[in-house]
């Protein structure tokens, strides 16, 4: 337990929070990178997933893509992308993380649109709604709980994976941990453990907040049936 108490002592030092490159700085970076990555993932994953789900095809392609990204090490993308024309800095990190945010968003959007009751769709068509009207007035509202579930999975995964940005000096809370390793276990052990605890807490807070959001946007009648997450996440980074 000694090592836990040392971490608490480290966390209790206000300088470790307010220093340049301290916890608050890194937390800001972390959230910023995660936000852009999730946004980029949504901009790509949702339209494609909604379109494929609306057309009712491409299901196996979605699964293949999701499985492929599962096999792709985050570290590989994080190190390869800066060497492409994207250049160094935040853009390649955001792009790499967005790649891992797309599968849960895409597959949940697809599942959400596919799981709309065919009779409901038929009824909407029978009422004279056009294809896009069916999509925007019937299918999308019914798929919102799935979209929210995908967002939650993707966001938690990205927040967790952003920790790895430190491997390429991309900033974020992982820097605290790797700086601790840089000092060596005997000196930086407290910092390593403190950083670990902080990142874990952040991931849990994000998970909790988004679970709340998911609950809020799910109509009451659907809540009991949708307790299980439609698509499980990959282990976070």
């Amino acid at each position: 337990m000694n090592y836990l108490s040392e971490a608490v002592v480290w966390l209790n030092d206000p300088l470790n929070w307010t220093n340049p490159g301290g916890l608050l700085d890194r937390l800001g970076e972390h959230l910023q990178i995660s936000f852009w990555a999730v946004l980029l993932g949504c901009l790509i994953g949702w339209p494609v997933g909604i379109w494929l789900g609306h057309r009712g095809r491409g299901g196996s392609a979605v699964i293949t893509f999701a499985n492929l990204t599962l096999a792709l090490p985050t570290l590989a993308l994080l190190t390869i992308l800066p060497l492409t024309p994207l250049g160094f800095g935040k853009p390649p990190v955001v792009a790499a993380l967005a790649v891992f945010a797309v599968p849960p968003l895409l597959s949940n959007a697809y599942t959400g649109l596919r799981s709309v009751d065919p009779e409901v769709r038929d009824a909407a068509k029978g009422m004279g709604l056009s294809g896009s009207q069916v999509l925007f007035r019937v299918e999308l509202p019914l798929a919102v709980p799935y979209l929210a579930a995908g967002l939650r999975t993707a966001a938690v995964q990205v927040v967790a994976t952003t920790t790895l940005a430190t491997f390429v000096n991309g900033g974020g809370l992982g820097e605290i941990i790797s700086a601790g390793f840089g000092l060596g276990i005997s000196v930086g052990g407290n910092q390593i453990v403190a950083g670990g605890i902080f990142v874990v807490l952040l991931a849990l807070v994000v998970e909790g907040l988004l679970a709340l959001v998911q609950r809020l946007v799910t109509p009451r009648a659907l809540r009991a049936a949708k307790r299980r997450r439609p698509t499980a996440a990959a282990p976070a980074g």
């Binding site: 096999a71 967790a160 790895l164 491997f167 390793f181 499980a232 990959a234």
Partner: protein, 239 residues
Amino acid sequence: MSFLSWGPAAVPLAAPADDGPGNPWFSWQYVRDNAETLRGALEFHAGLTARAVVLALVVALPLAVLAYWIKPLTGPILALSGVLYTIPSLALLALLAPAVGTTTDTSVLIALVLYALLVLVRNALTGLTQVPDEVRDAATGMGYGRFGRLLRVELPLALPGIITGLRLATVSTVALVTVGSLIGQGGLGDLILGGFRNNFYKAEIVTGSVLCLVLALVLDLLLAGLGRLLTPWARRRAA
């Protein structure tokens, strides 16, 4: 620094070389010259993956059976696995490494086992709960006890779920091993990171990444083949 900043100052010192012949994305020359290192890293990577997945399976199956037999335990076990899922791998490694030490790969192994565990328990439990009630009743009617029914009826029927879990766990474990390069125990991840730090040696990065992908693919295919061998009835039904 003054003499370094002299000249075209806009070019940062650590910029990658041009995409010219000096630093290609892939080079057989590199593969030939470093065959020994590559093989060592690949063996370490595959060995660590195998150890992690086998250990995880040994722990996961009893847990899944426990959750299956004792229904009130299902919720907590799945909830715990969900919470563990959100924990970043680097943070888990940061919590484990100071306690276990970084001279061996034990801390990486523990982290990998924990992550693989979650996938395996979930899928095994799904497989077990999907055994039809009639089948269970028929087995009981034939005089099977609890363990006999489990070993000879329920587990074989749950095999497709277990194999699916095994495949997912293996593929993601291969990718996760690379995170171990934080403490120099990352197998092919050490190559990827080493290439990045070694003045952005693209051939080393790409070779490491490709080997990672190939390893995941090969292991996935092997397990899929194993699944087909173990569940001949599923093939017959499909035919």
